[in-house]
Symmetry: D2
Subunit: 505 residues, 4 copies
Amino acid sequence: MNCENFSISEKIVSSSYIRQGAQARRTHEQFIRLLLEKGKCPEDGWDESTIELFLNELALMDSNNFLGNCGVGEREGRVASSLVARRHYRLIHGIGRSGDIAAVQPKAAGSSLLNKLTNAVVLDILKAAGVRTVSSCFVVPMATGMSLTLCFLTLRHRRPKAKYILWPRIDQKSCFKSMITAGFEPVIVESLLEGDELRTDLQTVESKMKELGPENIVCVHSTTSCFAPRVPDRLEELAQMCAKYEIPHIVNNAYGVQSSKCMHLIQQGARVGRIDAFVQSLDKNFMVPVGGAIIAGFNESFIQEISRMYPGRASASPSLDVLITLLSLGTNGYKQLLKERKEMYTYLAEELKKLAEAHGERLLETSHNPISLAMSLGNLEKHNTKAVTQLGSMLFTRQVSGARVVPLGTEQTVSGYTFQGFMSHTNEYPCPYLNAASAIGITRQDVDLCIKRLDKCLKTFKREKGDQSDKLESESGNPATASKEDVSELAERFQEEACLGLKKL
Amino acid sequence: MNCENFSISEKIVSSSYIRQGAQARRTHEQFIRLLLEKGKCPEDGWDESTIELFLNELALMDSNNFLGNCGVGEREGRVASSLVARRHYRLIHGIGRSGDIAAVQPKAAGSSLLNKLTNAVVLDILKAAGVRTVSSCFVVPMATGMSLTLCFLTLRHRRPKAKYILWPRIDQKSCFKSMITAGFEPVIVESLLEGDELRTDLQTVESKMKELGPENIVCVHSTTSCFAPRVPDRLEELAQMCAKYEIPHIVNNAYGVQSSKCMHLIQQGARVGRIDAFVQSLDKNFMVPVGGAIIAGFNESFIQEISRMYPGRASASPSLDVLITLLSLGTNGYKQLLKERKEMYTYLAEELKKLAEAHGERLLETSHNPISLAMSLGNLEKHNTKAVTQLGSMLFTRQVSGARVVPLGTEQTVSGYTFQGFMSHTNEYPCPYLNAASAIGITRQDVDLCIKRLDKCLKTFKREKGDQSDKLESESGNPATASKEDVSELAERFQEEACLGLKKL
Amino acid sequence: MNCENFSISEKIVSSSYIRQGAQARRTHEQFIRLLLEKGKCPEDGWDESTIELFLNELALMDSNNFLGNCGVGEREGRVASSLVARRHYRLIHGIGRSGDIAAVQPKAAGSSLLNKLTNAVVLDILKAAGVRTVSSCFVVPMATGMSLTLCFLTLRHRRPKAKYILWPRIDQKSCFKSMITAGFEPVIVESLLEGDELRTDLQTVESKMKELGPENIVCVHSTTSCFAPRVPDRLEELAQMCAKYEIPHIVNNAYGVQSSKCMHLIQQGARVGRIDAFVQSLDKNFMVPVGGAIIAGFNESFIQEISRMYPGRASASPSLDVLITLLSLGTNGYKQLLKERKEMYTYLAEELKKLAEAHGERLLETSHNPISLAMSLGNLEKHNTKAVTQLGSMLFTRQVSGARVVPLGTEQTVSGYTFQGFMSHTNEYPCPYLNAASAIGITRQDVDLCIKRLDKCLKTFKREKGDQSDKLESESGNPATASKEDVSELAERFQEEACLGLKKL
Amino acid sequence: MNCENFSISEKIVSSSYIRQGAQARRTHEQFIRLLLEKGKCPEDGWDESTIELFLNELALMDSNNFLGNCGVGEREGRVASSLVARRHYRLIHGIGRSGDIAAVQPKAAGSSLLNKLTNAVVLDILKAAGVRTVSSCFVVPMATGMSLTLCFLTLRHRRPKAKYILWPRIDQKSCFKSMITAGFEPVIVESLLEGDELRTDLQTVESKMKELGPENIVCVHSTTSCFAPRVPDRLEELAQMCAKYEIPHIVNNAYGVQSSKCMHLIQQGARVGRIDAFVQSLDKNFMVPVGGAIIAGFNESFIQEISRMYPGRASASPSLDVLITLLSLGTNGYKQLLKERKEMYTYLAEELKKLAEAHGERLLETSHNPISLAMSLGNLEKHNTKAVTQLGSMLFTRQVSGARVVPLGTEQTVSGYTFQGFMSHTNEYPCPYLNAASAIGITRQDVDLCIKRLDKCLKTFKREKGDQSDKLESESGNPATASKEDVSELAERFQEEACLGLKKL
């Protein structure tokens, strides 16, 4: 309420109480003022009440919520379903204008503010996470892959003759498709095996630059975060080469914001060489729903050029999600999550190591990968050739999600290109393995349950049973005091009975 | 609750009541069953309680909501903010996989179902709206422009040599940029003036086809819905030409689903000639927030090819919005909205005509345009050269949104191409004018307020005042019984006083 | 946002857009201002966005939401569950203080405002609904019965010697128990049968007054809204008698606000005689959840005396519900609901009359009852003595709720008092009957379905089947286009199959 | 979804994913099953998704949510505002029937289940909190005071001749008014000063029993939780006396559930003597909004008698709140809160002791009071007679809520009875004092801020300024990194400036 309405209220409820209420309201306004003035993520997270107050205020500024508005355009932010209106806090106009995704909309001052502030807050967090000299960024409501495509399409206008993208191999489809979709020809550079690690083959990169001619190369497309035993690319050296040969350099930093190592690599690369843009996922780094990415860089005008490439308005939903999340966490809350992730990485590594040794396997030595770990499955495979893939489906059934088994010898064709040893980032890795990662938000319970279930599965194989129909042990005990683990197993059993029952009818 | 829990409940509350409750639950399940079985939009809209039940059920099937899940992947659908989780009904995994936006996700059976069902329901509605033979479509979380870009990028792989897009001019930036972003060269075909209307110059299109060579042309990029006095392109003839010369044909049907005429044009075009894909906005046709589009076509494999072009997962938010909206409206509710829109088009035309005549102007005759209308502003301009642009800002201030004034002689450069008479779709239209549209969701009150305010503004000019500081008349009356109109004016006045006051301090 | 924050925003998004946003916000503030200033229900309903803005503003004024608050009391408005906090809009402190349910709380300026405004708005609506001279009222979070008890307990302190309450019989348990709970002795006055109607026996009331002595009588406890064939009490005459003998008069107006007739009776009673308080249900009159009542009267100090009788704070939930509801409806919306109710009463009466005649029964003539109707079931009973109760359970199974069958000869003991012919308001009514009512919110579909189902049930008896296992006819047809009716029947059938199936396992 | 719908889904999304989804759903059903079967609070709290699933399921069982329902009654659970429907999870019918607040409603199987389960879960928690032999309880949507009134009114029917209630004095208005409202005459028994503590004068209680005659005494009305220096009544001895003289015994256990000591007293009293019912607040013990209480006892039939006294249905809102809260906390979560409260009590006592000594005061020795503490203000008063009340308002202004100052010599009349030394529970306590309590949900930050602000206020007096206009020190520092404390002070200052500014206009 404004001062006037507070004054009137003093006639209804005694002045001193109303004044205290007005003062309390003012405190919320102070937090909003700091955000507007500084354009930074608050150090401490906001209360939900402040966040919702702020979003409601923004919505009131959009023309679809004007009480006296009349609309005779083709796009008036009308909403048919109140469920939909509500879940978007009545912010309906999206972000950007047809010319530029970062532009301000006359019809939607609130949504425009939201867009500008989100980009400012996200920039602040990228700095705090380690890329101190980043100068510009924007949130785009597309996945990392499509965002990379947008970067490549922008480069086309700068380098009309170029058609190759130099790409140190990483076996993840959307990275690869981002280049294909943009209409370029990927030049795949295989990694070198150093110890257990797969690392960038710098020499081959440089020889390709010379061979193809820098003017024919759109850019180098490197990667930070990836599944072990591949490790982040040698960004410093790549950036220096790019500078030397005047080739643009786009970094896929998919889930690297959560790792100080990945962010450090980018910072260093930009300091000593050339990085034009780095792209990261919103969901993988900020614990929001899938669907957004951040395109960031060190040269404001290039980043703006990319934002002007997006034709048309865009969904505000990913921006809204990340803004809510960062306001509720604050810089301190986010840093705390990063710290816990790092600790869980160490814990997961230790536990996996113990488990591996108990089963005659080993934890691969991939210390350059700060997020993903790999445990060999060579012995398992020796016993039973199908065991590796069976282990994958057993873990799936047991609700261990994200633990990926990588058998040897998989061949796969993506957009017409055939990859040997697909999933392992190299034509022939020495052994099959299992990946597990310590990503932001992981808990000790996740690690413990994963290790426990993995252990159970591996033991099943040991007993030479090797089939999937392993019965659940009867130790599950008293349902009244059932743990998370027990209840899940119980449910599995009951489910089968109940639904089978019905099907018999 | 399942049957078992209903049985136990009978021990707590008497059986006959519980059984009736179980039966009632079953009714909701029946609606869900019909949706799953038929994959069609229900005829009558669902209750909010059924919709929310359904969404909650879907969410329970995603691994991030499994009570016994442990996650050790890099993307586990964790959410930091409960506000964010709640507004997405805990559906966090988005849609698609890295290989294909239409693919099923192992970790997210619920989100996968959501995606499939949304596409099925949307297909059903496209048929009901007039394109009876459409065979495939998918929702993509990008605006119309970026979705067109995706179509063009897909064609690149089919027609590697081609670099031109034939484009009957329409002055809307994102349409134009969709081609530029895709890296192609637009060949702009100016429209013909027929009466007041701007219509497709078929002869020039055909001569360009011959001149450039069909194999060098990526596609024809035509448009249905547009601002008067431009009218929808002659799709039948264009489609026939495309068939004859074997050139793909992509239709920008931005807000055309709401018009039976636009949909009829597409249906006819596909029947007699060639239409490869048509793209429409979600927000402009289905009253949902900005950010999604539907890519549809008559050849399932080509549409799939486009969906496989999108690298990476994508936001489920636009799919969720349109699914909620269509389930709550039902086919009948949606058709009712279309019917009301059509009626309001007629009403708006009549009222604008009267107003135009009262002010010495006329309603342009653009009967081929089923949504947008234009009223000349020639007399206004004669009195006062700046009046046309002033009128625009006066309408903005008075909360008339979407009424667009188009002065003569505007020149604008977009992505390096310069357009004469920008906004009017032609180098030199005979007179300046004002646009108003009857779009889905418009109400009689919108029309009445627009006419009333427009009339006031035009009268202001008549009185030779011509400035923006026109005072509000004192007739606003008793605030206790203030209408929507009055309150808005009151607010305007008070606002100025209050905030100016503060600034003086 | 306050003016300061709007000013800062102008540096981020262009001034004219922000100013328009600020102006739009101001409009919402204007509505709130009018409410605070006038304390009246707005004529037109508010938008949900204004309502939620207002509630959020109120919440910010309560100390549990102060960002800088520290609490060391025994009651600090802390909430353990965010689901709970959210559903109460973070208004946790309830209403009133230990001394008085209408008092202002120092810790909760917002909740106090809510309480005061709700009482003011409700008072305004009582006037608009017909009791123009009502001078004071308050919402109490107790059902009608307990609220009547509170009135009686208050009278005890004014009339310490009195122990009798004169009560024209109405067969509804909570009315009766309200007197018992208060510790008084009800003196039951049987009604007179006039035509089909049961009306107040004024002569007996007066003779009881004389017989017992006015000083020994706590009050007369009369009733307006009731099930036909009982009709509202003759309030004018009762009020005059109460005035004459100086006996207080409490009116149970349970669901009478929705009827202009009931409200007129109270207005007239107060004009010509004595009415001390009248009590009405919130849920039955304002379409809110069960649990609140309004205690109203013509003498402010007596109503205050009652409010001071409630020991302790109370739930704000019913006040919040009715305030949200009235703000969203506005006076006009509420009046429209009353108008529709009246129309549906006429429609229901016509349809029931036709149905009755078709089945050899008749609609009882009870024109003094403006809400409830009764249709005789004499013929039905002649055929089959158990048929009347069977009809009741058949209607229940068919989801006809609220249609009450009243067999003859039911005897029931309530709190030690035995009633002959219980449910029919009299010892022996001439025939069994069925009640149906046209209450606020009823729709034409409710009436049509009720008549249709009732007709089906009655036909079942005609065919001498008379058992409950009547099979559903096979006409239910195509599920894809199932109506509300069909789906319900389908569900019933499937339910039985599915759950029986499971039980067999 | 039911098994059938899961089966159909397998045709849309691959079977193994759907089956895993179905299994996951089953887990939620298992939790619900355990609740229904055992009727106990779960050990570990439920996820919000399980809670909401459960509430939605309950709502589907109420007739107002039946899709095929037609309603022709006077109370059909219709809701005008979707905001209201939503916040009650569409549970509209309230709890109980006109005859009994604990009865099952035919129209509302879901709400009836909710009511039964809430009472069962609450009973389980009362046992866990220390009253192991409690046999019956129910939640009533009225504050503690009105709930006590209901108990007294029930006793009237058992003891029609009795009119006195023996009441060891406690200065809290609603306790006192609960007896007055019920129409009885309180017999006030003053406490004895033992050390600093005020304790029950057992001798006087017994002599009053003899003097008035047991048959004339409705009950003894004792108290556990209270402000220091009063301490909980000697329940064991009172209960023994009640047994001996056959006088009912009602215990006001307002916020005693959170203290193992208070609960132990009740358990012991019931074991060795007579306790008929004990009444506790929902909000003060379970961190839910104000408005509900639990009436509990050791004799099921007496507790039922009370529940049957409540005439009419009642709000389900308090039941819903406490059920959501207990399901989300689980027994373990609730016990954890109790543990933390106890620790904070010790911490608060230590800090207050230090502060008191630093200012020449002392912490009163009231070890029998497990929740509330008192610090003398004798020295403060000597300096400045008005200082004690000034301190109160200074703390209020500084957002220290719940810290209550008690000056000497206050006289107050409540319902005609005059109390000397009101607020201090005795006619003349030796010194003025300040209360602070460690109640459930208190945090270390609450204690620290309270001590800090209290210290500042006391220092202000020391500096002989003694007025309220003390200026805020300038140390508040940089707003960008402002703490909770600083922001609050900043806000205070800005608020004054801003609103004063406006008023000058």
